[in-house]
Symmetry: C3
């Protein structure tokens, strides 16, 4: 019996199947510091215990996106080892902050399957949950990927395409217990702009840029125990190691501090597309469009729905070409909800 | 209203102004470990809790220069975003060791202003203090930078040039509470040379060298939340990302272990010049000249005033050309006080 | 008196001599996180406190190889600064897991000396022990290196060549107190293969590969406070910085997760050869041959003796050329014992 993991192929999935992903991980202040070394992350709630405590939390959590990466990384050997493409995300929610010392594991349920007409691949939809050591769900999201068939003669499964929300409603968002922005310190946070100051349709060029290096994206991707070959093995990808899409997400989110310093917590992921591949040597920049605004019931806390776009060149605010396709210098188009002081 | 930070220009400063810098930071064992990965740091007091406890401290502090970088990094968006040059440091003092779990923030006071005769720039002097979560000042230093004017027609402020000490007097130095080198373990520390063994005028070639890489200096600079564009964005600096001067300081100090293994704690910064820019691919080496010696009142603890020079080539002990200018291969000329067992 | 460390030369060693190596180190969750960023390490016992506790340990230890690197790194200034070659390892045993917060130091005894017939170099054998803050030995190993003479006229010492075991016997292995694999969770660990499923003579191609970068191997090597010049200074090694052999060991061991996910703990090092140098740009792959199997007295715990080979190309399972020499693409040939659920 071959001992190495060949990954699952399209015909290995059935709707309703539960995948218990391997290798639980205790996240610590070590991961926290590395996140700050890998990305220009400066949101004060994730930088300072004292600031987080003044906002009603027990301490500074692990960055929401770091929690996402840890949960996501575990799914790779079971979901995307034989994937041809990562097609989309939906209904992502952060339900509990993750703190140093927490141990995370991931569980996915297969919620949809659709064989492609070419008979060679199919789309697999999974809803993934990250759980902590108390079996509390800390986050969940839906992801769909195109996966190869091992046996082209395997029969096509019944097509099940889940109905997914185009965007989470404000009432879907979970504000962490105790969060209170009523005594929020804007000077310490770095910008005076509050929820009231942002208008739907407003766009922000985040100005800063980072030219990415091989060593950095590999350190990051390994830290999340994401083992996809394409990120690490130049003999497997002689045209260049493909940078993990999550590295671009974290880089863009960190760059968005400049203009969105008070968009402290990420609580919802409405959708996202990795529009073009990113390679070492690319310079990542970011811009944001305000898509929506909503109240929350937490004191002083509002929600902003934001489109975060990462590019590797080109002018800000240009997303698609005349034919409606993503421009070639767009890396990421992400739609998320963040919490901000009103 | 533009949401991103344009930085302050020369006419935005007034003498007496207090700048509360943003983004407090809780430093942890994660930052501690990263410091040891980024620099060949081996001073035993910063490597081992047991060694530090045997020297009268509660545990191993965060490296003094790491504390400096954290405090310094916060000032960049307010002080040096529109700076043309970092001109100097003076009167730097470490007042309390920083331990894992401490949260640091920075506050600066504008103590001097002098418009340049070209009318386009001016020199801004700030005294910066780093404070911990108990509002204790952990370190302070004066720094002056040349900053661009936004509006060339803005009137010149009254010239105020602060009187700064050429060097701290031994009585200015603060020895950490409890520090006691009377039972110091020279074998564990790595060298037998004590304070008595160093003579004023003595020079030491630290022998070792490190060829620096882009990924490393960016990891370091981000870790300290220093956001200056020149360090990260190759499209902004097509001739090469400029390496943060503090990276050179830490590298040179770590290299100086070989010959100064017992110069355990940095307690005073008398001055410093970044003589030439450093880029990835440069090989940093270091040499030291003993400038002065002083007693302290702490048991077994002496102070050495040291000139630490970092180079990227050339022979050791050569600092200036016949015209009195720094040689082109000199990167750093730093003047500091360190504590050492007598 | 020159202050920098010239290292020991062959004539500076005598059999029976004890070397107390400098710079003790407190290892923390920071080192733990960095290990996971530097290597694709996924063994669950080192990733999750909860998993380790379910196996009878108080928490997740620092990776066994990280403990080895910390202990080894301290010996470099005293043993291998003037070494021409690292010739071998033997009788390596891990005696106690190392946990975050432990402080390690290293002590070596010179157990053998043999001047080479050329009169210019000699072989030095040392038995090194790593001790924690309670003076418990956490690991020990024998290593022999070829060291230059300073003075070619120095008389040759009496030849003493220690008798070393070709391999540790199963009864030499120390199973950590409390280790119990009887309720081992194979799903969380990532593979179903248990000790019973491995046969002596079986070979496993670990499939995955990592193309290594300068920044990564330097971060790793510095983290272990290994100061050998050849790893850092391109002006000293203009043909390329030589990658620390331990970096290759850790990379190969981490890659071996794919096929040996349940070979959780490394407890014995029978021998090892760094067959060829490794440089940045090489793509490291790994394969394993099962050499032996043994029971232990701990509940549910078996031992596997494994040959782990790292390559930088070529087909798996090819180790030597027709003349019996290591093939040019073989980097490492390591012989170790690991503990696995039966």
């Amino acid at each position: 019996m071959a001992k190495t993991n060949p990954g699952r192929f399209f015909e290995d999935y059935t709707v309703g199947q539960t995948l218990h992903h391997a290798v639980p991980r205790t996240v610590t202040n070590g991961e926290r510091a590395l996140y700050h070394a890998l990305y220009p992350a400066r949101h004060a709630l994730y930088s300072s215990d004292a600031f987080a405590q003044a906002c009603g939390l027990p301490g500074s959590p692990i960055d929401d996106l770091a929690a996402f990466h840890v949960v996501f990384g575990k799914t790779v050997p079971d979901v995307s080892l034989n994937a041809v493409a990562n097609l989309g995300y939906a209904e992502g929610r952060w339900l509990k902050p993750v703190y140093a010392g927490d141990t995370l594991r991931s569980v996915s349920e297969v919620i949809g399957l659709k064989q492609n007409s070419n008979g060679k691949t199919g789309v697999v939809y999974v809803r993934t949950r990250g759980l902590n050591q108390r079996d509390e769900t800390v986050m969940e999201y839906v992801r769909w990927v195109m996966v190869r068939k091992r046996d082209l003669d395997a029969p096509a499964p019944e097509t099940v395409v889940p109905e997914l929300k185009k965007a989470l409603a404000p009432t879907d968002l979970v504000v962490p217990d105790g969060l209170d922005f009523s005594a929020y310190d804007f000077a310490l946070a770095g910008e005076p702009h509050r929820w009231d100051d942002y208008a739907v349709g407003e766009t922000i060029d985040h100005v800063d840029g980072v030219t990415v290096e091989e060593a950095e994206h590999m350190l990051a991707t390994r830290l999340w125990q994401n083992t996809a070959k394409v990120h690490f093995d130049l003999t497997f990808r002689p045209d260049g190691r493909l940078i993990y899409g999550g590295h671009v997400i974290s880089m863009a989110r960190a760059l968005s501090f400049n203009g969105l310093a008070n968009a402290q917590m990420v609580v919802g992921l409405n959708g996202g597309a990795h529009a073009n591949p990113c390679f070492a040597g690319d310079t990542i920049k970011a811009w944001t469009e305000v898509l929506d605004k909503a109240d929350t019931t937490a004191p002083g806390v509002g929600a902003l729905r934001l489109r975060l776009v990462a590019t590797k060149g080109g002018a800000p605010f240009e997303l698609r070409d005349p034919a409606g396709k993503y421009r070639s210098d767009v890396l990421l188009d992400l739609d998320y909800w963040a919490l901000m002081p009103v």
